[in-house]
């Protein structure tokens, strides 16, 4: 659905995006992450037809964002990182204005706007002046706006910034709903735990270059991270370490704070072996918990943390 090839954007001498290759399949939620100034917003602006790339191509549903801008705009719902609102318009008028801008017939607009207001829980605010809404409410309105023309592709730049925890959860649920409806979503956020929960694939960008793009499983394989488990025991911790270290499947055993971290060799697992070994050794087990790779850890390992 979204494809870029050697996409490059320079601002004067500053390279914002360099040779970016990206593919997002239809119906995917793609998390776009990177440090500040990495080139996320520039990429999204190019895809939303607001910036011309210096070189390279960007296609949405097979349409070139540079040559077929108007057709692309019909397909895309773009929500910028900082959203402006028109003064002196009410919430309903604001949404209807954009419905009209996307060419929706007048007789259909009312029901569409009401539907979108319902979906984003803004129904009670429809008669309120847009510029008097709180930041979080304006952010919700932004989401409502991008949905008004029922686009196939949603490009959301930090949609959860400024939202309270409840609203964040609601946005997450909304994105899941949209995925079920078959929308392709490209989303950037600094709250990686949220992306981890909803994204099918992630792209990590730094210095304008894509350092990784793929699913969470692919990240694990790329980082060479083996399966790990956390073991908590009630007594005789030292003996437990000795017993676990002697197991042939185990590569490394570390004692950390109040638990023991056990790393297996590649392709090996063994929660059952651990339990059996410890019980046979007369050690009382509190818990055995698999340790999952978090997106935060992957992000820290893949990026250097240097901004432009």
């Amino acid at each position: 659905m979204i494809q870029t090839k050697r996409l490059t954007k320079y601002y004067g001498n500053l390279a914002a995006v360099i040779d970016l290759d990206l593919t997002i399949e239809e119906g995917d939620i793609f998390g776009f992450i990177g440090p500040n100034g990495a080139g996320k917003t520039t990429t999204m602006r190019i895809l939303a037809t607001l910036l011309e790339p210096t070189r390279g191509t960007a296609l949405i549903n097979g349409l070139s964002v540079t040559k077929q801008g108007k057709k692309v705009r019909r397909l895309v719902g773009y929500m910028p990182d900082f959203m402006g609102v028109y003064d002196d318009l009410k919430v309903f008028e604001y949404l209807e204005f954009f419905a009209a801008a996307f060419g929706i017939e007048r007789r259909r607009r009312k029901s569409i706007v009401e539907g979108v207001l319902e979906l984003t829980d803004l129904k009670s605010k429809q008669n309120v002046d847009v510029d008097s809404l709180s930041r979080g409410m304006q952010q919700r309105l932004g989401v409502a706006r991008v949905l008004v023309h029922d686009p196939k592709v949603l490009i959301l730049d930090e949609p959860a910034s400024g939202l309270d925890p409840r609203a964040r959860i609601e946005i997450r649920e909304l994105l899941r709903e949209l995925k079920k409806m078959g929308k392709t979503i490209m989303i950037s956020s600094h709250i990686l735990s949220e992306l981890e929960e909803i994204c099918d694939r992630v792209g990590i960008i730094e210095h304008g270059r894509m350092v990784f793009s793929g699913s969470m499983e692919e990240i694990i394989s790329r980082l060479g991270i083996q399966n790990k488990v956390r073991v908590k025991v009630l007594n005789n911790r030292q003996k437990a370490v000795e017993l676990l270290s002697a197991l042939p499947q185990v590569r490394q055993v570390q004692t950390l704070d109040d638990y023991i971290a056990v790393a297996f060799h590649e392709g090996q697992t063994g929660d059952g072996i651990i339990a059996r070994t410890l019980v046979n050794g007369g050690i009382d087990i509190i818990s055995i918990q698999p340790e999952k790779l978090k997106l935060d850890d992957a992000f820290l390992q893949l990026t250097k943390g240097i901004v432009h």
Binding site: F82, G84, F97, V128, D129
Partner: protein, 598 residues
């Protein structure tokens, strides 16, 4: 006592008064390229201006003897200094108004005013820091011309008193205009609204009140008694009389009061405006610090309570209106004529304007001068000047204001084509300036009906007004699409008008003289909207002109007297040129829409 004195000293201490805001503003302004461009442009414009005046006053008109040329030198000195002082007087006020038009609104919009209130900085320091930092830029502009003034003074024999008084009058007038702009910027986010409010307030104080007072008191009190008081309150009049007294000392005798009294009064007025600003800034800052988004008038609060809508921050009044027709045009028409003023306030504003106009009619009727063509010329000229200002500013702000509020990228991310956006914006600009032009139309039609203006003037004035609207809207849209900041776009559009209708005719004057018999200056003057308005109304205004046949009307164009047909030909030619130029600039604006989005 000591405590009071030390507090007094603290407030007067420049270091405390200017505070960190002043430092911040200076650091920011020193990085801004536009300030250097402004100084450079000011210097270039001034040099060209002086060169033209000098060439006109000394060099041209034949080859005089050395003695005659020496005699002319002193005359030229007076003319040059007078011209520079007037040039600076107008320009510094204009720049002060534009520079301070976003001074407080920027802080409010970026929500930094509330943050400032959490520091030991107080509202007086905020206001003074903003004002003085911009004032410093203005003083720099004035200082640039000091060496020039000094040289011309030495050779031209102009008294120091005039140079010093001219600069002081300029500075105090700029300070007052700037403080008014700062005051209005607390209430309006948009620069163009602030600029318009300031211009109208200044016009009210400097033109409307003196005109009405003089007209009302003309028969009851001798002019000699009222004029000094009015001059004392009006920097334009003060400077005119000071300048006239250089060549005609009798005019100086009219000044029963000294210029420094005028400066003291202007400073006092500035202090009053600033004191009120300090008071309001504190209120707005505290409101922002406590999380309230914007002030709510008593009337609005009542309406909200009646409607039972949301929290105090969320405001809701008036019915929801459905989008009809092209959406950009709908939005532009839906927006109030003046930002922040709803329909009722706009109608009240228009009502006040009409009432003011009727008051002037009543005063003119008392003085039996409504059927005089000079009176009609004054009316039309005032309308054209106001219409010009009202057209220039919203046109230049139409796109930049959307860029500043970050709505522009959202609009461009929709499939609306650029022509529709351009058309919508143009409709919005025309709508915003329409009230002034409608007032002019109403005035002209009323006096055509009364038999004080010839009907042909309606057609002629319509031609002038339409090309003016098309051209200024086109140029405003162009600058608005090209530049990022409203202030820059407004300055650019004003500068274009000044160059076209002020600087170019002056430039062509000496060129014509050098070319001996050249007509560039005359042609250029003939295409000037003010000249056209004056010529049309002078030729077709007044009871006598209104009653004669079309063929008997005589129009006094620069350097020639023409009949109606020839006048129409000039007006049509100008119309075609400026309308084409306006359309071309609007088309260029459309091409720039997607170049400077962020």
């Amino acid at each position: 006592m000591t405590a009071v004195l030390s507090k007094f000293w603290k407030v007067l201490n420049p270091a405390w008064l200017t505070g960190p805001i002043f430092g911040k503003e200076l650091r920011v302004s020193s990085r801004r390229r536009r300030n250097y461009v402004l100084r450079f442009a000011h210097l270039i414009l001034l040099t060209v201006f002086v060169a033209m005046v000098w060439l006109t006053a000394v060099q041209l008109y034949g080859r005089p003897s050395n003695a005659l040329q020496s005699a002319r030198m002193s005359q030229a000195g007076i003319v040059i200094i007078g011209a520079i002082i007037f040039f600076q007087f107008v320009l510094t006020q204009l720049i002060a108004v534009v520079m301070l038009s976003t001074s407080i609104s920027d802080e409010i919009y970026h929500r930094t005013l509330g943050v400032l209130m959490t520091t030991p900085i107080n509202s007086l320091q905020i206001v003074m820091g903003k004002l003085l930092s911009k004032l410093l830029q203005l003083i720099l502009l004035l200082a640039i011309t000091l060496p020039l003034l000094a040289i011309v003074r030495v050779f031209g024999g102009v008294p120091w008193d005039y140079v010093v008084s001219g600069l002081c009058i300029t500075l105090t007038a700029a300070l007052f205009a700037g403080s008014l702009s700062l005051y209005f910027s607390i209430h309006s986010r948009r620069a163009y609204v602030v600029i318009l409010k300031t211009v109208f307030t200044l016009a009210f104080f400097y033109a409307f009140i003196p005109a009405i007072t003089i007209a009302l008191l003309r028969e009851r009190a001798p002019e000699r008694a009222t004029l000094p008081v009015l001059v004392l309150l009006n920097p334009f009049a003060m400077l005119v009389i000071k300048t006239t007294s250089l060549t005609a000392p009798a005019a100086g005798a009219m000044l029963l009061c000294r210029w420094w009294w005028h400066c003291v009064i202007m400073l006092a007025c500035t202090v009053v405006v600033l004191a009120r600003s300090v008071q309001i800034v504190r209120r707005v800052a505290l409101r922002q610090a406590s999380g309230q988004l914007r002030p709510e008038s008593k009337r609005r609060r009542k309406r909200r309570c009646r409607a039972g809508a949301g929290t105090q921050a969320e405001q809701s009044y008036g019915p929801v209106r459905r989008v009809r027709g092209p959406c950009v045009i709908w939005k532009e028409i839906r927006a109030p004529i003046i930002q922040g003023a709803d329909r009722t306030n706009s109608i009240i504003g228009l009502g006040i304007a009409v009432a003011a106009l009727l008051v002037t009619y009543a005063v003119c009727m008392l003085n039996r001068c409504l059927d005089d063509n000079t009176t009609q010329v004054s009316y039309v000229l005032v309308f054209v000047i106001l219409g010009l200002v009202v057209n220039i500013v919203p046109a230049a702000a139409s796109i930049t204001s959307e860029k500043e509020t970050r709505c522009w990228p959202i609009l461009l991310a929709t499939p609306i084509d650029d022509w529709s956006i351009l058309l919508g914006k143009a409709v919005g600009v025309v709508r915003r300036c329409l009230p002034i032009w409608l007032l002019l139309a109403g005035h002209v039609l009323l006096f055509v009906g009364k038999g004080y203006i010839h009907p042909v003037a309606v057609v002629h004035l319509a031609l002038v007004v339409t090309w003016l609207i098309v051209f200024l809207s086109g140029s405003g849209l162009y600058f608005s699409a090209r530049l990022r900041r409203t202030t820059s776009a407004v300055v650019a559009n004003i500068a274009l008008a000044i160059v076209l209708w002020g600087a170019l005719p002056m430039l062509f004057g000496p060129v014509d003289a050098i070319a001996r018999g050249g007509l560039l200056s005359e042609r250029c003057m003939s295409a000037n909207p003010f000249v056209q308005a004056v010529v049309i109304t002078h030729g077709a205004g007044g009871a006598y002109n209104a009653s004669v046949a079309l063929s008997q009307l005589r129009y006094e164009w620069p350097g020639r007297i023409l009949q109606t047909a020839a006048t129409t030909k000039i007006l049509l030619t100008t119309w075609i040129i400026y309308v084409l130029a306006g359309v071309f600039l609007a088309w260029r604006a459309k091409r720039l829409f997607r170049r400077n989005i962020f």
